[in-house]
């Protein structure tokens, strides 16, 4: 995939995407008593044993590492549900409202720190990866229908998934635009002629990494 094979041209680095994802809320079940936390990024708690509460992922991981809570995986994160989503994605042309990247990042954190909280972690993870690949493949094939317009809606795709296809799709559209309006951009800088070539080669490349 374009963004992955050329990480240096991704606008947001993996670390930055991770940083943003760490603000996602997740449910934890504390096993200790702690007063509410009044953070700059918001107020969380109070924390009472066995009472579930919502906290940002980074906080959940920090508490989990210290053995102060259990992380509750979201309901969608089950093998049955993910299998259904994957089948649905494969069968239909449209996409579902499912944020595969967010899910994958969540997996990454949960896998690293809370393996014991989630059954079938390995299956869950590989299912989500498959879902992501199918979804991104769909976008890349639908690119053939893009014309040189100035705006394209990308329904049901998440911002994080977009980060993967951005370098390729963005430059492809740019190339279309350039060819449609030769007078408007008489001379885009030299670097972009090289980029255009990359973009033109792209569709012929196999989509597998």
């Amino acid at each position: 995939m374009a963004g992955q094979s050329e990480p240096h041209i991704s606008l947001f680095s993996a670390e930055e995407v991770e940083f943003m994802a760490e603000d996602e809320l997740i449910e934890i079940v504390p096993n200790m008593r702690m007063a509410p936390l009044n953070f700059i990024c918001g107020d969380f708690g109070p924390f009472l044993p066995q009472i579930p509460t919502q906290v940002p992922l980074w906080l959940a991981v920090a508490l989990k590492k210290r053995g102060r809570c259990a992380i509750r995986p979201p309901q969608w994160m089950s093998v049955e549900n993910l299998t259904r989503v994957l089948e649905g994605e494969r069968e239909s042309q449209g996409s579902f409202q499912f944020n595969s990247m967010k899910a994958l990042i969540l997996c990454f954190f949960v896998d690293g720190s809370a393996r014991d909280d989630i059954p079938d972690m390995y299956m869950v993870r590989s299912l989500i990866e498959d879902i992501r690949d199918v979804r991104i493949h769909k976008v890349e094939t639908s690119l053939e229908k893009f014309s040189g317009t100035s705006a394209v809606k990308i329904p049901n795709l998440s911002a994080m998934e977009v980060n993967i296809i951005r370098p390729f799709v963005g430059r492809a559209l740019q190339a279309f635009y350039k060819h449609d309006n030769p007078e408007k951009i008489p001379d885009v800088d030299r670097a972009s002629s090289q980029q255009t070539r990359v973009a033109n080669n792209e569709p012929r490349r196999p989509l597998r990494r």
């Binding site: 990024c41 409202q97 100035s150 911002a159 963005g170 670097a191």
Partner: protein, 236 residues
């Protein structure tokens, strides 16, 4: 399917984001993303940066108090993490703006790529903070001096300008300008008025484009500049 994957539906994520975007951290994150994605420099978020600085300072004092008073070390470390995250975000925002004054491609020779352009364009210059203005001025002076001493003074008389190819140039043709016709990914925050993609305000047929909250689009930056400034869309 809707119910099982419902947690992630765009509407809910959107509701949730409007709810949480009341925190300055969330606003700062949005400003950072916008700045990172847009091809031009955006107005400096002065009030927001000031508020964030104050909150960070307050939190620093709180953390110090915790440590001194021998409070539960767990709580102190959690507050420290929150503080680190807020600081990281603020630094990233300030840094991405400075780097914008520079070329995106660090290996390129034209080091202070957009500096000269920002400096001679009032709209852009007014978007800088006081400190950024000072920084830009100093950079232009130093780079100008450096180029002068190392290269330009050795060239024939007609080719000694930093800004022009030669004395016959009518414009500053050595000053790179931001490419506003690049494509960016944007998320709709508030319903936009119909936009005409050729950039005009008049309809030329039914070539208009309407976004509703939650929509994600790849679009050419230039026609959407105003929508971004008014906060109707944000860049991702």
């Amino acid at each position: 399917m809707g119910s099982s994957a419902g947690e992630w539906s765009a509407e809910q994520i959107d509701d949730y984001e409007t709810l949480i975007s009341t925190t300055d951290v969330e606003l700062l994150k949005k400003a950072w993303r916008n700045e990172k994605v847009s091809p031009e420099i955006l107005p400096f978020e002065e009030a927001l940066v000031k508020r964030a600085k104050e909150q960070i300072q307050l939190m620093e004092e709180t953390v110090d108090d915790f440590v001194e008073s021998g409070h539960d070390p767990l709580i102190a470390s959690l507050y420290q993490m929150d503080l680190d995250r807020a600081q990281f975000l603020l630094r990233s925002y300030l840094r991405v703006r400075l780097q914008k004054n520079r070329p995106r491609n660090p290996s390129g020779f034209a080091i202070e790529k957009f500096m000269f352009y920002i400096w001679k364009t009032d709209t852009y210059r007014n978007r800088l903070s006081m400190e950024e203005e000072k920084f830009t001025e100093r950079c232009i002076r130093d780079i100008g001096k450096h180029l002068e001493e190392t290269v330009l003074s050795n060239l024939p008389d007609n080719y000694q300008s930093v800004l022009n190819q030669s004395v016959i140039s009518e414009e500053d043709d050595m000053v790179p300008e931001p490419l506003l016709d690049t494509f960016v990914v944007a998320k709709c925050e508030r319903t936009t008025r119909p936009l005409y993609l050729d950039g005009s305000r008049q309809s030329t047929g039914d070539d208009h484009f309407l976004m509703v909250p939650g929509d994600l689009c790849i679009l050419r930056y230039r026609p959407f500049q105003e929508e971004l400034m008014s906060g109707n869309i944000s860049l991702v």
